[in-house]
Symmetry: C2
Subunit: 115 residues, 2 copies
């Protein structure tokens, strides 16, 4: 089991901003899991909640990955920034895919690089 977090690198976000956005995606995925995918969430938590943080070059690539994950039936949570700091409100910053079996996620995200 793993949770994939995909982050845009074209927004000039600092490492603290990136961490906050990724945390937002992970919390949102956890709450969605409690609501709609309880068995997968429980399995992921039992395994120590493994996370992998990957990067995309912009909004278009992020949307493309999110769309392909949805088509594969994976849980997807897309995060837009609240705009309090650094970037404008409503900017798409990252997404969470999973938690789900690695074998289901890898075909969707396997070609992306680590952040």
């Amino acid at each position: 089991m793993k949770l994939i977090l995909v982050v845009r690198t074209d927004l000039g976000m600092g490492r603290g901003k990136i961490a906050a956005q990724v945390a937002h995606a992970a919390v949102t995925a956890t709450l969605a899991g409690l609501d709609r995918h309880r068995a997968d969430l429980a399995a992921w938590l039992r395994e120590g909640q493994p996370k992998v943080v990957l990067r995309v070059s912009g909004a278009e690539q992020l949307q493309d990955v999110a769309d392909r994950a949805r088509q594969a039936g994976l849980p997807v949570e897309v995060i837009c920034d609240a705009g309090r700091t650094q970037i404008s409100a409503g900017t798409l910053t990252c997404c969470a895919i999973g938690p789900a079996d690695a074998e289901r996620i890898d075909p969707v995200t396997g070609e992306l690089s680590l952040l």
Copy 2:
């Protein structure tokens, strides 16, 4: 309401590793909130789950902040790395303080810098 995430900067973690550790702390704080501090968690989620990522120079300063937060009656979750990548298993990497009212958290973390 806010959730504070405090990260060590002396471990040489890359931005992806930092993001994963901070996400781990945020997810753990969320689950603890559901279990033990439901009203504060719900208020924080309603406000858009604001997060602030701060830094400390090492394990000693992280433990000190965590101890002071506990003494102030705040929820604290300390994260040790699973040791799969970059750093050794069991290394203390970061902690979550809250979610709680800013007025309760600021006396504990107000002197720390943003990551």
